[in-house]
């Protein structure tokens, strides 16, 4: 092997960044390896000197310049603002759709309790039939009427009416209602509405 011919000056694993012949083998190779490597180098000359097709350089140059111009072409798109408008409109439309969807969802969520709310409470009469609380139909014993009259705050004034209660000509409700108002009016000088008949 003619190693001087193939660049023995090159370093083992580094060397010049550009072709300066084939880098010599380092340590670890035996003589037969080195001979084989040298033969590969000497016979590769025809491979290295493979002629390029006619016009190769021009075609590669033209194609690469065209590729570069095409690669730079997208820069011109920055002037094309109208092309961005459809995209902006789409975004606005999308946002509007989302807004409508959210509003509808909120309406449904808030409306749900109203819809499912129990109907207005219907008063249920749990009283047994015939036990009406209408005072007109209450019939108390005379003792009970008297006891109620005695517990009244105006029982002293109403004592005069006790006979009516006892004789059941008047009920407690009558005594403590309309008649009590009349008596109050008689005894209230500001009202000036005393009943002369009562005075008698």
């Amino acid at each position: 092997m003619n190693e001087d011919k193939h660049g023995t000056s090159r370093s083992g694993s580094g060397g010049h960044p550009h072709s300066q012949g084939i880098e010599p083998l380092g340590e670890g190779y035996d003589d037969l390896d080195r001979k084989l490597d040298a033969r590969l180098s000497s016979t590769s000359h025809e491979l290295r000197s493979t002629p390029v097709p006619a016009g190769f350089i021009d075609r590669v140059f033209e194609a690469s310049i065209e590729a570069r111009n095409e690669a730079e072409a997208p820069l011109s798109f920055t002037r094309g603002l109208p092309r961005r408008q459809p995209a902006a409109l789409k975004l606005v439309a999308l946002a509007a759709c989302l807004g409508i969807a959210v509003t509808a969802a909120l309406w449904l969520v808030r409306g749900q309790p109203t819809r499912n709310a129990p109907d207005p409470v219907v008063a249920i009469d749990i009283q047994a039939p015939g036990s009406s609380l209408a005072t007109d139909s209450i019939t108390l014993s005379s003792e009970a009427e008297w006891a109620m009259l005695a517990s009244s705050r105006d029982h002293r004034q109403l004592e005069r009416l006790s006979t009516l209660v006892v004789t059941r000509d008047m009920g407690f409700g009558d005594v403590t209602g309309d008649l009590a108002s009349v008596i109050d009016a008689i005894h209230d000088p500001r009202l000036q509405t005393f009943d002369l008949e009562w005075q008698r």
């Binding site: 072709s19 084939i22 880098e23 390896d33 290295r48 493979t50 097709p53 140059f61 690469s64 690669a71």
Partner: protein, 189 residues
């Protein structure tokens, strides 16, 4: 090779390319185009495919050269793109690299009948490079990059994106395997 002697000149030329200087780009193609083509042709044995991939490689490089800073990596970068493109195309076509055939070392290069010593050299080349075709694809790539593209092991590691130690070990094993394939390599010498 125009840029072999002056790394700074290559850097300046690449800078001009980045600035849009078409003549500078033409210098790059004239300097590296034949080497890229030779490597591709040695691997695929198809002139049209080699040119197509070479063209694609330079198209890729020129579109990405604006941000490139030359740190001694341009050549590995260029050849790496070329090798990757070739690999992808071979996969797409369902083919492997074709061993160097007789026509490379035969009468295609010269129309004249070769003499005794010259014919012996061609026979030797055919035998050696034919045997390389029986090696693993990665081993073949290392031997082609070393002997056809005359790359250092460090550059080969950068092209193949492998650690330097891996490339050295693969090369070592590739020679041993090649000796096994050749049977009696001493008879060749």
């Amino acid at each position: 090779m125009a840029f072999e002697e002056d790394k700074a000149r290559l850097q300046a030329t690449l800078r001009r390319v980045g600035e849009g200087d078409e003549e500078a780009w033409r210098e790059i193609i004239e300097s590296y185009g034949p080497r890229v083509y030779a490597l591709l042709f040695s691997r695929c044995r198809n002139a049209e495919l080699a040119e197509e991939i070479a063209q694609s490689t330079f198209c890729t490089v020129v579109t990405k050269i604006d941000g490139y800073q030359e740190l001694g990596k341009f050549e590995p970068w260029l050849f790496r793109i070329a090798m990757n493109r070739l690999r992808d195309e071979m996969r797409r076509r369902g083919r492997h690299a074709i061993p160097v055939s007789h026509e490379v070392f035969g009468g295609v290069a010269t129309g004249d009948k070769p003499g005794g010593a010259e014919q012996e050299q061609r026979d030797l080349g055919e035998a050696l490079w034919g045997a390389i075709g029986e090696l693993a694809e990665a081993d073949q790539q290392i031997l082609h990059l070393r002997h056809v593209s005359e790359m250092s092991f460090k550059q080969i590691a950068e092209v193949l994106d492998q650690p330097l130690g891996t490339v050295l070990a693969r090369h070592f094993r590739a020679l041993k395997r090649l000796r096994e394939i050749l049977g009696d390599p001493e008879g060749l010498f």
